[in-house]
């Protein structure tokens, strides 16, 4: 529920509720009202000075507070998933970067009013840190704290993945449920000074500024989760961390100042932390949420995470107390992805100019050779020649039009693909193992495509297919499991490049039924993984991969190769089944031919046996035809 206190400078925005709009319309600016509907239109009688008074900086946190759907907090069910997802993604990234085989422990507990977990929330409704925020900010985000009269809660309207779970959808909603999400890992831990910034500051991270394959990109996720928790429950984020066996563990409790986008640490203690792992981090966030099993649930997400990360062990305890252990299927860490320079293909003009401004190299040839991936000396010279520029030209002197030419020639010259080892695919063997763990006994096949490039970013597509096996539904549409840098994508399937590519494959050629415009039908699981130094998502909530033609093509090729293998498998199966059927046929009907002949011709036993023998021989010969 969005409370209705207007923000200065805010006149009208899409998220505005009807009530607010009405309130505004009923109190028109003085002097503007001369009766009639026309006069109600906000008259442009505001001076530049007045406007200037309203103009002010918007903090990132404020922006995301209003646009939480951009980050995956559209409704309580999705909020729970996003929180778990961000924490797990961070845990895995940290473990892998430190070269540790990850063990991730996830626990979700339902919080009832009485056993309120953190001490901070019990007394003052908004907790320590949040209380510091100006009152004008808070109400934008639902904060049904204890003090407020039972505010209508976000309705449980999340059966439909794209539903906007705004409060207007249901009149009298049930009291919102609260859950405590706890995610721990055996990663390297976080040094004490960084904890606050990592968990308490939006757009703070290690992954944004480099071209390297990782799960997180922008440094928004976990802090947004903490912020959501704080806004819905008033509870602080709690972090445990230890960076070495020899050092003590830290326990930190903190709030976020939404306006300043800074953490406010309320507790910072050294504590004993009894754990099987030497190092590691644990984060606890309490939030308003809804737990539900099934598609797009936390359970589903963790299962799929295990599928794309066969080297990970996951321990999971759901709100009902059921514990699940998914043991790793492979014992090797994936090869560490390497950071790379941009590749000339697809570098945009603006980015090129930016790079020319920022380079330390003074001459054009050196600039091209050292700031780009896969540009050798001769290649650099060739690029210059095509652009009509001297290789010795000063980078700083290159004019706007010349940069334009340079940009064009970058895409014209034939250049090697970027190095493969900067992206780390799961590997065909590991994907097949993971698929077999998911669907024991299935026919599986996986393909890792050679790396390709979109917009100067190398990427690798992997596809896997599982047909049949335990737990495979027989006559339903195929399940498509999508992954980007090993992270499962659970929402917006239809908007995703993966779905488009899978739909466009000629499944019927592989012996699989497919209705027009629909996914193929059968006990089929399609697995698609896109690994890249920069995955192009359609939005910041990272739910769907954008439709770059290069990416679509690679996905299609990978899935089609799997499909061809499936087709061969299916036709082999059919042949075997046919052969068996024929064998059964012979066994079933041959005796009757002999019986009939024996009756009609009164054959003796010897003749009967000879007939049986010959007939079998004749029919088995015909089987080979």
């Amino acid at each position: 529920m969005r409370l209705l206190l207007p923000v200065p400078g805010e006149r009208y925005h899409p998220g505005m509720t009807a009530k607010k709009r009405k309130a505004e319309e009923e109190t028109p600016p003085p002097g503007a009202a001369k009766g009639g509907a026309r006069a109600r239109k906000p008259a442009a009688r505001v001076t530049a000075e007045e406007m200037a008074g309203r103009q002010r900086e918007i903090s990132v946190s404020e922006f995301f507070t209003k646009n939480r759907h951009l980050l995956g907090f559209d409704n309580p069910r999705k909020a729970l998933l996003t929180t778990v997802k961000e924490a797990v993604d961070n845990a895995l990234d940290a473990c892998e970067e430190a070269g540790i085989l990850p063990v991730v422990e996830v626990e979700i507990r339902r919080v009832t009013e009485r056993n309120g977990n953190g001490a901070a929330g019990n007394g003052s409704p908004n907790g320590g840190g949040a209380a510091a925020a100006p009152a004008g900010d808070m109400p934008l985000f639902a904060a049904p704290a204890a003090a407020a009269p039972p505010a209508p809660a976000p309705a449980p309207a999340d059966e439909d993945e794209d539903a906007d779970a705004g409060p207007k959808r249901r009149g009298a909603a049930a009291a919102p449920e609260r859950y405590l999400v706890s995610v721990g890992d055996n990663g390297p831990g976080i040094v004490r000074e960084q904890v606050g910034k990592i968990f308490g500051k939006l757009l703070y991270g290690s992954k944004f500024h480099r071209l390297r394959q990782s799960r997180g990109q922008q440094g928004i996720g976990i802090s947004a989760a903490g912020m959501y928790g704080q806004l819905t429950t008033g509870k602080p984020v709690r972090i445990w961390s230890r960076t070495s066996r020899k050092k003590p563990a830290h326990f930190i409790e903190m709030h976020m100042d939404l306006r300043k986008n800074t953490p406010e640490i309320t507790k910072d203690e050294e504590i004993p932390w009894d754990r099987e792992h030497d190092t590691g981090t644990r984060v606890e966030i309490e939030l308003e949420a809804k737990y539900q099993k099934g598609a797009r649930s936390v359970d589903d997400y963790l299962r799929q995470t295990a599928l794309a990360n066969p080297h990970v062990t996951i321990r999971y305890r759901d709100p009902e107390g059921t514990e699940t252990l998914i043991e790793r299927a492979v014992k090797d860490l994936p090869e560490a992805p390497r950071e790379i320079q941009p590749h000339p293909y697809g570098v945009e003009l603006g980015m090129l100019i930016q790079m020319m401004k920022g380079t330390t190299h003074r001459k054009l040839k050196a600039f091209l050779q050292h700031e780009f991936s896969r540009v050798s000396g001769p290649t650099a010279v060739e690029i210059c020649r095509r652009a009509g520029l001297a290789p010795e030209a000063w980078v700083a002197r290159i004019a706007r039009e010349e940069a334009d030419n340079l940009h064009r020639s970058l895409s014209e010259v034939r250049i090697m693909n970027p190095p493969t080892d900067c992206v780390s695919p799961i590997g065909e063997g590991a994907v097949e193992k993971a698929l077999l763990r998911e669907r024991p006994g299935a026919f599986v096949h996986a393909v890792t495509r050679p790396p390709s490039v979109y917009r100067g970013n190398p990427f690798v597509v992997e596809a896997g297919i599982a047909w049949g096996g335990e737990g495979a539904p027989a006559d339903e549409l195929a399940s498509v499991f999508r992954f980007a840098n090993r992270v499962p994508l659970l929402y917006q399937q239809s908007a995703c490049a993966v779905s488009k590519a899978v739909l466009s494959c000629p499944w019927r050629n592989y012996g699989v039924d497919q209705s027009r415009g629909a996914l193929p039908t059968g006990p089929l699981l399609v697995f698609v993984h896109l690994a890249s130094v920069w995955v192009p998502f359609t939005s910041e909530s990272k739910e769907a991969i954008a439709h770059y033609p290069e990416i679509l093509k690679e996905i299609r090729l990978a899935v089609m190769e799997c499909g061809r293998n499936l087709g061969q498998h299916l036709s082999r199966q059919r042949r075997l089944a046919d052969a068996q059927k024929k064998k059964d046929y012979i066994a079933a009907y041959l005796p009757h031919i002999v019986i009939a002949l024996k009756e009609i011709l009164t054959l003796d036993e010897k003749a009967e046996k000879a007939a049986t023998r010959n007939l079998t021989e004749v029919l088995e010969k015909s089987r080979a035809l």
Binding site: A588, I593, I600, L603, V618
Partner: protein, 377 residues
């Protein structure tokens, strides 16, 4: 063909023909197996393309084209079923028994994997066998598979020679002694013998007219045999008439309602059979039959009360004129049907009652029978 002879105890020629034919087919199959070749069965093709109207014999006959069914894995089931059905037929000939199609279907339930799941399957195999043996001069009744329905009623100057099944004791059935009832044609008539001095056989469409002639003992006055078909004649009825007329060289006169159904369905089926079952026509058609009445001209001559033709009648008549080779080879029939269509009416056999119940016996039939040469062919 078997001659008319008395009831028998031992096997007769007809049965010996059947056994020989069944054994010949089985022997061919067995010989192929001994040679380690794929056994084959030949079936005349029953498609209309392989059916022609033989003007000389006067009915539709199946052509010479044959389909060969080779034993492969895919045909193993029907191959086995065909042979077992033949074995069953042989057994019934030896035991002098017969089974209805439905009974044969149930007997197959003892055949494990080769059993028929539904009767249409066994009927299809039976049709195959019938077609296969029709070229040996053997029909389904001789193979001891009898149809469910029996074949109409008989009264008049005829003694039927049958026998008791259990004892073989001969039976003489005098068809003048049924009073107001009649002899019922059995579903299998192959074993019957006949004694008669009748001048003709009058084949009647409706039970009402048959009763009228029977109770009036018309058969005595006219020295004839009355047969009631009850609509389109059954196999047994047609076979009965055919054998009776063949063996005693008695002409057959048909007496039906004057409407397209009476012409195109009842009379035509009696005389030339149907294109669909061309392989059996040689046993069942009565090509010597001619049409006594009621003809379209009779409506005019006798001023019969009529009903307008129904839409269905018109369609049936037009269809027959257009597609039926029967009307091509019999221009007189063509004219008659056109005449009827032009009048746009139909008349029933029992319409003569308008002139008195005995009019048909006393006036109409004698008048017509003066000139059998003028009957429609």
């Amino acid at each position: 063909m078997a001659k008319a002879k008395g009831p028998r105890k031992a096997m007769d020629d007809r049965d010996r023909t059947v056994l020989a034919a069944v054994e010949e087919v089985a022997r061919d199959v067995h010989a192929s197996i001994q040679r380690k070749a794929k056994p084959e069965l030949d079936f005349p093709i029953r498609a209309l393309a392989n059916v022609r109207y033989d003007q000389k014999v006067g009915y539709f006959e199946i052509g010479k084209r044959k389909a060969v069914r080779t034993l492969t894995v895919n045909t193993a089931k029907s191959f086995a079923q065909t042979l077992r059905m033949m074995a069953l037929s042989r057994q019934h000939v030896l035991e002098d028994r017969e089974a209805t199609k439905r009974e044969a279907y149930y007997i197959s339930k003892n055949w494990d994997d080769a059993k028929f799941d539904e009767q249409p399957e066994s009927d299809a195999v039976m049709d195959d066998i019938e077609a296969m043996f029709s070229v040996h001069g053997v029909n389904r009744e001789m193979l001891r598979f009898k149809p469910e329905e029996h074949g109409g009623s008989v009264a008049g100057a005829l003694t039927i020679l049958d026998r008791r099944r259990n004892t073989g004791e001969p039976l003489r059935i005098d068809c003048t002694n049924f009073g107001s009832g009649a002899y019922t044609v059995p579903s299998n008539v192959e074993h019957l013998g006949f004694e008669t001095k009748a001048r003709f056989i009058l084949v009647i469409e409706t039970g009402g007219t048959f009763d009228r002639l029977n109770t009036g003992e018309y058969w005595r006055t006219a020295n004839c045999i009355l047969v009631e078909m009850g609509g389109v004649p059954t196999r047994a009825c047609r076979r009965f008439i055919r054998r009776l007329s063949d063996e005693h060289r008695i002409p057959v006169y048909a007496f039906t309602d004057c409407d397209p159904y009476g012409f195109a369905n009842i009379y035509r089926t009696l005389k030339v059979g149907s294109g669909n079952a061309a392989h059996i026509n040689r046993f069942f058609c009565v090509p010597k039959a001619s049409f006594l009445g009621v003809s379209p001209q009779d409506i005019v001559d006798f001023k019969l009360p009529t009903h307008p033709l129904k839409e269905m009648d018109i369609k049936r008549a037009e269809d027959a004129l257009k597609n039926d080779p029967f009307y091509e080879v019999h221009p007189k029939w063509k004219m008659a049907v056109e005449h009827l269509l032009k009048m746009g009416v139909r008349a029933e056999q029992q319409a003569f009652a308008k002139f008195g119940l005995d009019f048909v016996m006393e006036e109409y039939l004698p008048a017509k029978l003066k000139n059998p040469g003028k009957f429609l062919p």
